[in-house]
């Protein structure tokens, strides 16, 4: 699907029923089959040469991967925005405005969180989107983000939770089992939603579930964190930022938004890769914490899909963490399917099976088998109970489009 090296803009295709190959339907069908988005992410300059039909497909692929605003920012940086057809430019501007709104909300929420936590904990470490925005990391521009994620010292958790509750955040889930699940098995508190603003705050004490086979002490992350100048806030050390995203993508169940996270990884590497202590830090930490495998996947797929500049030396050292060949082949298949671009044609959008397998895999990695069986059994029971007519009538108030945004949680 990635078509590496095949960066020709025109996509020749044999037209069905003897139709000329470049008739709009044939071009449409052909262009949807491979990822224009990946080609443009690798080389934004080619956007200047795309035709109208290509743009239609590219914009669907970008918004399908929640990368519309990011694409707009990328094209702006590459200076090709004014060579884009006017209508496509409108779409990009609209996507950018949506992303700008997320940025505004994030800034506001971070300020509110900081105010709420005054005195409750010493270091508030911003994670992911919030860190990119507040620290001015370029990948934060045009990025869609939903929740604010922070990391605090585990001993401070009770004080932190009490403080945010005083300031209006409430647990999203009231189910005692979910509550128990988060507190016992997860690396974060049950997600909190603000009762007036409806925004979600995730409070982490480390970046992997304590039940998973990886062990990362939150204290190490906090100690290595770096201040964000002039804000009183912190972000993870660059190697930890990279590893966090790598874990999220190739260990947690976040394959649904996979490409977006891969773009984050790519951006972090391009930003921090030149720092002399970056790659040694990444390789050391991965070794000590048993993160070699997710890191291998992260760099492997970054290079493969986005041609991210990973030094050969680093890549060679990581080869020891590569999975056995059959596993790797399977992962290549699954990841390619999960990252496959959304097509404007519904019949092209399969990939659900691959995403499901990756989701199952993430749970497998997250907890020991017995616990997993118990957890999934419980979830199945709840889902079954929700199907009975009685339960349905009580659920109807949630509306059709109520997003199941805690998919990765439980």
């Amino acid at each position: 699907m990635s078509g590496r090296g095949a960066d020709a803009v025109a996509v020749p295709a044999a037209g069905p029923e003897g139709r000329p190959a470049d008739s709009p339907p044939a071009r449409f069908a052909a262009a949807t089959r491979e990822s224009l988005l990946l080609r443009v992410l690798r080389r934004p300059q080619i956007a200047a040469e795309l035709g109208g039909a290509d743009w239609g497909v590219l914009l669907v692929q970008a918004s399908g991967a929640a990368l519309g605003g990011r694409l707009a920012a990328l094209l702006e940086d590459a200076g090709v925005l004014d060579r884009v057809p006017a209508r496509a430019r409108d779409r990009l501007a609209a996507a950018r405005r949506t992303a700008d709104r997320y940025e505004r909300i994030t800034r506001w929420e971070v300020a509110c969180t900081q105010r709420a936590l005054r005195g409750a904990t010493e270091r508030i470490v911003l994670l992911k989107g919030a860190a990119y925005v507040i620290a001015g990391v370029p990948i934060g521009r045009g990025r869609i983000m939903s929740d604010v994620d922070i990391l605090v010292a585990r001993p401070d958790l009770p004080a932190v939770e009490a403080a945010v509750r005083v300031h209006g955040w409430r647990p999203v889930k009231s189910d005692p089992y979910d509550e128990h699940y988060y507190r016992e098995y997860m690396h974060e508190l049950p997600p909190l939603v603000h009762e007036e603003r409806g925004t979600v705050l995730d409070i982490h004490h480390t970046i992997v579930p304590p039940t998973s086979r990886l062990k990362i002490a939150g204290a190490d992350l906090l100690a290595a964190a770096e201040p964000i100048g002039g804000t009183g806030l912190w972000r993870l050390a660059p190697p930890d930022m990279l590893l966090h995203t790598a874990i999220h993508l190739f260990h947690d169940g976040e394959v649904f938004g996979g490409l977006r996270e891969l773009v984050d990884l790519d951006g972090l590497i391009r930003l921090f890769g030149a720092r002399p202590d970056f790659w040694p830090g990444v390789v050391d930490r991965a070794g000590h914490r048993g993160l070699g495998r997710p890191l291998f996947y992260a760099l492997h797929y970054c290079r493969h899909f986005l041609e991210t500049p990973v030094p050969d030396m680093v890549h060679a050292r990581l080869a020891t963490y590569a999975p056995p060949a059959p596993v790797r082949l399977l992962m290549d298949r699954l990841v390619a399917a999960a990252f496959a671009p959304v097509s404007p044609r519904p019949e092209d959008n399969g990939g659900a099976a691959a995403r499901w397998l990756l989701y199952v895999r993430s749970h497998w990695l997250r907890m020991p088998p017995l616990l997993l069986a118990r957890h999934l059994g419980r979830k199945a029971l709840v889902r079954f109970a929700a199907r009975t007519p009685k339960a349905r009538s009580t659920r109807s108030g949630r509306g059709r489009g109520a997003p199941d945004r805690r998919r990765r949680g439980a």
Binding site: P25, V60, G64, A94, P344, P346
Partner: protein, 300 residues
């Protein structure tokens, strides 16, 4: 080339493989394989131009019968936006209202290059009257009546304000009338063409009035907003207008702004400019004839 230049067979074939139509500033790419939808679509969008082959679509809307392998006896209509499932519709006869709602939803959630108001808008002599109102207030009925009396239809659903110059970009599409309003409109303007009446939708009976050819032909010509009228139909009421304060106008526009929060400060500034430049009025009416005259007076 216009939709009506295609024979119904050619239109059906094009719809099946993908047909891009220009609706105001947008290009909507339809793929519709439900036979029941073809006739009404062909009629309702007869005056709309087809998009040039090289214009990128703003949205891909797909409508087809979906076979569920677990329930092969029930054929449902699936509507997709940009290749992804959006909504299902149990009855093929109701595909057209479902398509209209799907297009509304897709535009409302993506056209942030404009400040979007949930409001009808009509114009005469280049002066546009914005009719923002919640559903049930008679907004579409009054809009349909004004159009029947020669006003230019800019939009029945969305008022698109251009951030650059504050002008309104027309988006003439079928005017949607519900339940009793359909009979009212038939009495008021018997020559007005309903190109599709669909009983039994979730919103009751829905009827669509064909947008006038002249309004569609002028869909690339923006109009300057001149006043804001909040219509309210009341049985037996004498026609009455009441001027709103500038703040009242701002709040009325704000309540009906679709993407105000997404545009942030820019949205607030645009809305304030609009409220500052366009006097607002409440209009209570019973008789459509009186209401049409009253709007004419306010816009003069």
């Amino acid at each position: 080339m216009k939709v009506s230049d295609l024979t119904s067979d050619a239109f059906a074939a094009a719809l099946g493989s993908g047909l891009a139509v220009r609706l105001g500033p947008f290009v909507v790419h339809w793929r519709v394989t439900v036979p029941a939808a073809r006739g009404p679509l062909h009629a309702l969008y007869a005056h709309h131009p087809l998009a040039e082959p090289d214009e990128p679509p703003d949205v891909y809307v797909d409508c087809r019968a979906h076979l569920n392998p677990r329930r092969p006896w029930s054929r449902r209509i699936h509507l997709s936006i940009d290749g992804r499932f959006h909504a299902a519709q149990a009855r093929a006869q109701l595909s057209v209202p479902a398509l209209e709602w799907t297009m509304n939803w897709s535009l409302a959630t993506r056209a942030h290059e404009y400040l979007m108001l949930h409001a009808a808008v009509v114009a005469r002599d280049g002066r546009a009257v914005i009719l923002p109102a919640p559903p049930g207030s008679g907004k579409s009925t009054l809009c349909g009546a004004l159009v029947a009396r020669g006003w230019r239809l800019l939009s029945d659903e969305f008022t698109l304000i251009r951030p650059g110059d504050g002008l309104i970009a027309p988006l003439p599409r079928p005017v949607s009338l519900k339940e009793g309003a359909i009979a009212v409109m038939r009495r008021f303007a018997p020559e007005h063409m309903f190109a599709g009446v669909f009983p039994g939708t979730v919103k009751g009976t829905v009827g669509y009035v064909l947008p006038p050819a002249a309004s569609v032909a002028a869909q690339d010509e923006p109009a300057r907003p001149c006043c804001v009228v909040l219509p309210r139909w009341r049985s037996g009421a004498a026609v009455r207008t009441e001027a709103l304060s500038r703040t009242g106008t701002f709040l009325a526009l704000n309540r009906n702004a679709v993407n105000y929060s997404i545009l942030g400060e820019r949205g607030a500034a645009l809305l304030a400019g609009l409220a500052g430049g366009c006097p607002g009025h409440r209009l209570a009416y019973d008789s459509l004839d009186d209401a049409v005259d009253a709007v004419g007076g306010l816009a003069a």
